[in-house]
């Protein structure tokens, strides 16, 4: 249901944005209060919960698992890289419009967008149409900042796969901002176990995952991860979305 607003209120809000005084006293570029918690889900390698005052609530978890490397059949790229698999899901309780299958399109869109930004390996099944990504910086730093080469364990065979799952628990605007903030925070929280590779000769390798909880790796390149800021254009001015 679209919320109702009276002509006088609309006029007051628009003029307020023009005067750089919004209804809750913020100026145009001011963000709402953001709360970030990390390490909220113990079963994951890293997790974060982002809340933006006024509603938006997103839980992001990162799980590191070992999987085979994915090689691009055309370019032969990817043999020495790990992977990032993204998934965004909007809980039906987050908003009325997400009920039933209402969130499917949004889920797909957000998942694709995250995959595009975080992994420059364009071969993951989640996004077939992301080949439009142009001007991606040369390896090792991808558009998502994360150094995927460091996630490789045995080139051409085994690598770490980071499953990044975002769950939208409440929806109150600035959704992409919250998802990217949460992802960055969750990756910062992520610890990957160290591995020890043994060369058996004849191109045979064996590796062992060390279960020392103290001695773990961080995700390299995390400080270069992108952050998203959504701006809305109201008459002639750009402003951070406000709900009130």
């Amino acid at each position: 249901m679209p919320s109702l607003i009276s002509p006088a209120e609309r006029d007051y809000i628009l003029k307020g944005i023009e005067c750089n005084v919004r209804a809750d006293g913020r100026q145009r570029p001011d963000y709402r209060e953001v709360t970030i918690e990390t390490g909220v889900v113990s079963q994951t390698s890293g997790s974060a919960r982002v809340r933006i005052a006024g509603g938006t609530d997103v839980l992001v978890s990162v799980k590191a698992e070992i999987g085979p490397v994915q090689v691009d059949p055309e370019t032969g790229d990817g043999a020495d890289k790990g992977q990032i698999v993204c998934n965004v899901e909007c809980a039906p309780s987050a908003s009325q419009q997400f009920e039933g299958r209402g969130a499917d399109d949004l889920n797909n869109e957000l998942t694709q967008m995250m995959s595009r930004f975080l992994s420059h390996n364009t071969n993951t099944p989640a996004h077939k149409s992301s080949s439009t990504e142009a001007g991606a910086p040369a390896a090792p730093a991808g558009p998502g900042g994360i150094n995927l080469s460091k996630l490789c364990i045995i080139p051409g065979q085994q690598c770490w796969v980071l499953f990044v799952d975002a769950l939208v628990m409440d929806y109150g605007g600035n959704l992409m901002d919250a998802i990217f903030m949460g992802t960055r925070a969750a990756i910062y929280d992520t610890r990957i176990p160290k591995t020890e590779v043994q060369d058996l000769g004849d191109g045979q390798f064996e590796f062992e995952v060390l279960d020392d909880a103290e001695d773990t790796d961080i995700v390299e390149g995390r400080e270069d991860m992108p952050i998203c800021v959504t701006l809305n254009k109201v008459s002639d001015h750009f402003t951070i979305l406000s709900l009130e």
Binding site: I5, S6, P7, D11, K15, V21, A23, G25, E33, A53
Partner: protein, 321 residues
Amino acid sequence: MNISFHSPVPRATNEKSRKKSGKRHGGNEVDMDLDDDHEGVVLKDPTIHVVTPAEVITTDTAFMRGHGTYIEEEKVLSSLAGVVERVNKLISVKPLHSRYTGEIGDVVVGRITEVAQKRWKVDVSARQDAVLMLSSVNLPGGVQRRKQESDELQMRNFFMEGDLVVAEVQAFFGDGAYSLHTRSLKYGKLRNGSFISVSPALVQRCKSHFHSLSCGVDVILGLNGYIWVSAHVPESLDEIDTEQVYSNKNKDDITPSDRESIARVANCIRALAQEFIFINDTIISFAYEASLQHALKDMHKKEIMHEIAVEAVSAVDNMKG
């Protein structure tokens, strides 16, 4: 598997608090010692007994069950999350969060949701939409005149869907819906400001719900928890053109500093609502003063709101002595 739910109140105080609330309502235990030591009790008011659904309030069969309670195995249990109230033998639970329940004469702020046959439906955060009859508004051109068919056809010129109105509860319908009226010049369409919604329980009935604060801001405290904060419009009831009552146009001379004051007052009200403090004109003024030490654009932050609310409460306490 055994699952047990715990109440937010320390168990040890339950018996005590029940006696105290008896003292408050019944008045027959006045000589009871008030200065009991409340070890480990952090509650502000020890007479408040908070219960959660399915929590046993009393096992004493002498008590009667009131609103918000039910009886199971001869025990009185709560069906709501709320505060226990006792009047003699009657135990009821007042919910922590509820919709607006009105009384005749209440000043409410509402939003038009529907234009229907000779009436408007108004959202007043009650269980049902209230009704504003065409016959209970002042029409332009003469204070009292018969409603004509032409008026019925142009009802959207008076109030449109989405418009905010301030009105008074006139009567109840058979199904419990409220009938409103705007037959006074102080009631009518709202302009020149912004809208805030708080819990209806936070606005108390008092002499006046229309306030002009010293900072040049008008506040209308609707008893239904809807609050309107607007730029000050000088009162000159004789000069008001009845056509103007239904205008959608804001006044032109709202300065940025007026807007800042309005936003500041609105944020003060939000701060008070966040801390569950009763809202009236006195505490809003104190909160406004307390807020002046903070930049307007920082006022939406939780801890600053908390600070402002705490300061306002202590200022009110000081005033009372």
